[in-house]
Each structure stands twice: as C-alpha cells, then as structure tokens.
Symmetry: C2
C-alpha cells in the first residue's frame, strides 16, 4: 500500500464527463489498495470567466479580492469530484486550501506555501477516504485567502506530497511524459522512463514545458518522487527523482537524457570597450535593473586594451536592452554595438556528464559535420548549451539526437 498524491489540471476536469473520468482513475488506485490525495485545478475556462468579470470592474483588480474570486474555481471542482467519487461508491471528502489548512505568506496572487497541516488529511485517509484538495490556493496567518500563482496546483500537489511524506506525486497532464526532445522536431524522440530533478530543471527551463520549474524545485528540495503522465491515456509516464533514487538496474543510464532548445533568444554584442575593473557591471547592471534576464555571457579580451562582451536575452527584451546598451556604449567609449535576433540555443542535458568527458567534443563534431557554426558555448555540470543560427535548429537537434542515439 502506498500513499499517492495526484494532481489533475483544468483540462482534465473541464466538464462533468471528465470529472467522472478522473474519479475512475482515482478509483483504480484505491482498488489497488493505495491511499490517494487528489489536488485539482479549476475547470478549464472558469478562471478566464471569473477574470473577465473582474476586468469589467477594474482594469487592475485588487489582488486580495482577485484571490477571493479565483479560488472559487477549484472549490467548485473539489465538490464535484468528491460527489463523483462517492457516486461510484468511493468515500471522499473535499478540502479547500484554508480547510487543510495550506498556510502561505500574504503575497496575494503569488503566495508561497509556508506550512501544511497534515492532521485532517491523515484523519480522513485513515477512515478510508479519498481526500480531494483545492489546488492553487492557501490561507495567510490572518485568515486571508491567497493564490500561489502560475502552476500553483502543481505546487500544491508537490507540497502535499512532501507534507504527507507520500510515496509518489503524480502530475496528470495532456502529455504522456518527458521526451528526449520535442517530437515535433524529431519524430523519433522517445519518452524517458526516469530522469533526475536536475535534468528536469534544465529541460524545463530550456523549453520542455511539461512541469512548472517551481514544482520541480520543490519536489527536489523535499525529495518527493514526481511522475508526469497523461490524464487521457494509460502509461507509466516519466518518473523524476533524485540521482540516488535510480535503481541498480538503471545504472547504465545514458550519458545524455535529452536535448532542449529555445527559439526565444537574442544576442547582443558590445565591442571595443576600454577594459577596466568593473566594466562588466557597468554594461550588464543597467540591463538587469530593467528586469531583463541575462542568460549566457562571454567576454573576449582584445590585445589593444579593449574587451568585447556578448550575451543573450529573451527575444522580446531586445529593443529595450539595445537602447540601454547603446547608451552604455556612449558612456564607456565603446567602439560598436551589434545585435542578432535570429539565433537559437540548443542544450544537451544529462547527469552522466558529471563523470564522463568527451560529450562536448562529440557535440561540437556533430555540428561541424553538418556545417553548423557555433556562435557561443556555455556549460554547467550536467548541460552543454550552444548558440547557433536559427535556420539550423532542426538540423542540429535531429543530428545530435541521432549521434547520441537518443532514439535507441
């Protein structure tokens, strides 16, 4: 018997039939002897309906009241799912965020969970009930209703799993797992049975949008085994755990787990900057201050006492960043400012890199064999990223996928 926390998103509970379908899925786990806690989102469309009403009244609705308004969405779902379970003969009880309670700080619209009281939930589980909890919502110490922001229901599920010390947290979504790369680019892409939190974080932040980064971080922090799987079809999905949790027979894990890529990239260059201590901060500071996130950075020292900087940002931030950089260039007496928004970033991710060298050179060779020029290189312990011209994205990902035998 295991204790399982499951999360179903808005599409999975989008109408009565789908809610009944979720009840069937939950029932199977109960039949198999497991204890089940379910976190649910608002029915799809509901949040938009409520938000539209608020916007009819206020251009920027008061956040406290917006949280009061939006949390009704999940409250409707928990009641209906509990009814559906009981109708099928499975005792169930619903809890809103404040009923659990899921205690958060007071930052309305993006609160952080501080503590979850597990007493009530355990009490109900021990009576043989399925416990249905409203995702996305919590309550402050003063009794105000809060919401957790984007991907909040995933966070609720992971936090519940951590608080209850659950055996597994299952996130049901519209994809059946995490793939070696985007199947739209590489039809041979394979579903991964098992990856590490670290790999998932690198994959997610690089564009494989299956799980919210925050919930993966949370699961990693509390070492909650996380499973991504489809609410529509059967299958084991992808299990995400810490590296230590890999089983013996999985020791021969491939060096590379997947290839992520991002088209949302732009490159800025400032050339011929007089090289003095503090020049990096003078160049990048104004851009960070404008809340523009800087990703990769390269500095090239010239022989004439000047230096060149190249860095990447999100494509949409380019106009603002370019203006800021030009003004900095004037101030510092730099020679030239250049920009390029026709680039992409491709990253190979795998914990195997920690102990194996040669992966970078094999990657560079594969790209060279395909006449793809590398403009920038960045590495972490488990990732190698390159910036290339966007026209080569498909070719690069396909040939890397094949070269590293990710389809095997």
């Amino acid at each position: 018997m295991a204790l399982i926390v499951q999360k179903y998103g808005g599409t999975s509970v989008g109408n009565i039939e789908r809610i009944q379908n979720v009840a069937n899925k939950v029932a199977k786990f109960v039949d198999d002897g497991h204890q089940v806690v379910v976190a649910v989102s608002a029915m799809s469309g509901e949040t938009n309906r409520l938000t539209a009403m608020a916007h009819e009244i206020q251009a920027r609705p008061i956040k406290r009241e917006m949280d009061v308004l939006l949390t009704t969405g999940e409250q409707v779902t928990i009641a209906l799912l509990s009814m559906a379970l009981q109708e099928k003969g499975y005792p169930a009880i619903s809890y809103t965020g404040w009923q659990v309670p899921i205690k958060t700080d007071a930052v309305h619209s993006k609160a952080r969970i501080e503590e979850i009281d597990s007493e009530k939930i355990f009490g109900q589980l021990n009576q043989g009930k399925v416990v249905v909890v409203a995702g996305f919502q919590g309550v402050t110490p003063d009794g105000d209703i809060t919401t957790l922001g984007r991907g909040g229901s995933d966070t609720t599920a992971v936090a519940l799993a951590a608080a209850l010390n659950a055996d597994e947290c299952q996130i049901y979504t519209d994809v059946d797992g995490v793939y070696t790369t985007d199947p739209r680019v590489v039809p041979q892409a394979k579903r991964l049975d098992h990856i590490t939190f670290e790999e998932m974080l690198e994959m997610a932040s690089l564009g494989a949008k299956v799980l919210q980064i925050r919930s993966v971080e949370f699961a990693s922090k509390y070492n909650v085994p996380l499973r991504v799987l489809s609410s529509l079809q059967d299958g084991g999905g992808t299990l995400i755990t810490s590296e230590e949790n890999f089983k013996e027979n999985e020791m021969e894990k491939p060096l590379i787990s997947g290839i992520a890529f991002s088209r949302d990239e732009a490159k800025l260059m400032i050339l011929g900057v007089p090289d003095k201590p503090g020049v990096a901060y003078q160049i990048l500071g104004p851009i960070s201050d404008a809340n523009i996130e800087i990703d990769m950075i390269i500095q090239n020292q010239g022989i004439d006492g000047t230096t060149d900087f190249t860095f990447t940002i999100a494509r949409g931030d380019l106009p603002v960043a370019l203006d800021l950089l030009k003004s900095t260039a004037n101030k510092l007496g730099a020679r030239e400012v250049l920009s390029d928004d026709t680039i992409v970033k491709i990253s190979m991710v795998g914990v195997g890199m920690k102990s194996h060298s040669g992966i970078a050179s094999q990657m560079f060779k594969t790209l060279a064999d395909n006449d793809i020029n590398i403009q920038m290189i960045g590495t972490t312990e488990i990732k190698i990223s390159v910036v290339i011209d966007e026209q080569y994205l498909e070719l690069a990902v396909q040939s890397l996928h094949e070269a590293f035998e990710l389809d095997k």
Copy 2:
C-alpha cells in the same frame, strides 16, 4: 452616524452593471456618514448553474459537498462588489462566512447560526471600510462549510445586524415595501411605512411573500429594526420594528395594518364521530404524522353524542390527508368525510386589535353586506381569519380594504 447592515439578493447583483449599481447605493450611505456592512447573495442564475452540474453527477448530491459547491456563488459576489466599491474610491473588504466567522451548527443545507464573531468586522469598519459579507453561508466548529437554506442571505443580514448591534437592517428586494394587501387584487393598496414584527409575521405567513419568516423572527428576537425596500427605485420602504419602537407621532396607528389572503387552502370535514376523550388526537394525529400542517380547526359538538371536526390544510396535501381521514373515519365509526378545495382564507392583521373590540363584527358585517358566506373563523391576538368560497376572494378583499379605509 449610524451602523447599517444592508442585504442585496441575487437579482440585485445579477450582472456587473447591477453590482456597480449596488456599489453606488452603498456609497450614498457612506457619503452620509454611515458605517455600512453589506450581505450579498450569489448572482442570479449562479445557484441554478452549480446545482445543475451537481445533479449531472448525483441525483441527490451529498449535502456537505453541495454546501462547498454552492457557497462559491456568494464568494464570487463579495469579491466583485468589493472591487466595484474600491474602484469608486470607497475602501472595502470582503469576508466569506468562515472568515467572519459566522458559526453554525452542522446541519448541512439548512444550518442555524449559533454565533457571529464581530471583532474583524468592527476592526474594518473602524478603519473606514465597507465590509462585504457572503450571505447564506457559515462554518461549523469543525471547519466545515454550511449553508443556511432558503432565504439564508436575509438571515445572515439580520444576524449580522444583531451581532453588531446595528441601528437598522435593510433588506433590498424587487418590491418597494410591504403593502396593505396585494396590489394585484386591490389597486388602491398602499405601502405601509411602519409595521410591527408580529404583524409582519402574520402577513408573511399568510402569503405576502416579501421577507422570509425566519429572518423576521430573528429580527424580532433580537429587536433589530428591519427595513424592506427596493434595490431598483428610491423610497423609504417599510420599516418593521417591535411595538415599543413606534414613535410618539405614530400613536394614532390604524387598527388594521393589512389584509393577507391565501389561495393555497383546502378544507376537510369528518362528521358524526362518536365523542370520546382523545378523539381529536385520533383524527389529527395521523395527519400530522404524515408531515401535513393543519392550520384552522373547528369542533362542533352534536346533541346525539357525536361530534364534527373541520380543519384546513395546504391544497396540495389534500389527496393524502383525505385517504388518512377516511381510514380514521372507518376506525372510529364516523358518519361521513367531506372535503373542499375551492376555499380561500382571508386574514385581517393589526396590533390595534389587542386593545380594540368591534373589528371582528365590522369584518363579518362587511362580508354579509356583500352576501359572502363565512365557513370558518379563527382568531389570534392580532389577526382575524375567515374561510370563504374562493370565488369571493377579490370581492371580499376589496370590500374589506375599503371598509377599513386602508387606502386612506
């Protein structure tokens, strides 16, 4: 400066424009220097929408979960009304039932309020805020969500007014007050400026469906001045208070406040019952046991050692009651059972009757002058009711209204 509790029903908050209209009404009272607490219902149609979803899942939805589901309705309204007030520059804050908290017993779908904690509300009022409270809902000592049943938002408003010791509880509805009788029967019917709780209870229970009886009883118990008025048009409405609250200059209150009537009546007669102690219970007991409410009762002792019983019930209960009575008649050896569902009840209500005699005889004379036969008579301290043939209803009400100068 007064402390006023206002209640707006589902129609008054039925769309965004109407919610903004309610905000304008509230704002006027704030501008006049009053402190305002507002209790609101779900937007009209919302409760039906939610109920329909529940019924798609369960023929008889679990009451605990139904309460979780339905209470989202008022939660949406409080958030939107608070936004509307703040958008107009009036600081406001919303509270659900559990946030106040409005503590109730655990009878889901028809809970009773046990206690209201006024601390939070006073705290917000003292900061100059309008407090918007979800009607119809409360919370049990165990933290379960409850609803108060029919007319629950009226009850919430009156209970809040009692707990806060408010100067007045205003119930906004789609009529502009309580009338001397139904204007559809007597076009000259006049709006009453001021009546007593006792009168209102007699009027309401007799068919003048303006306020839920329960909320009037509650207001009477805690001596909360209650005002019924229109949410659509201006006007002072009808004030309902205890008899002691009538002002000096209102001493010359008319003897009769109004004429109520009910078409939902049927009459049963059991004739020639051998007269023994306990016979009344033997006749009426089985009918009460079937949850059929008996209204007026007359017993007539015959000279031959038998007795006749006549009593009235709601028209819809007639078939069941008739079967029960026939079986009783067999058992007791009664001569005959008769029934009549073409009767109506007309009641004259007025606290003035307590100290003035002669009203009954004037009523009987008026009916006699119009050739209307009286079938039954019943009286209380402040009410005289007669049962007549339904074809004379309009004539009776019109001539009584005129005879007692209620249009003056």
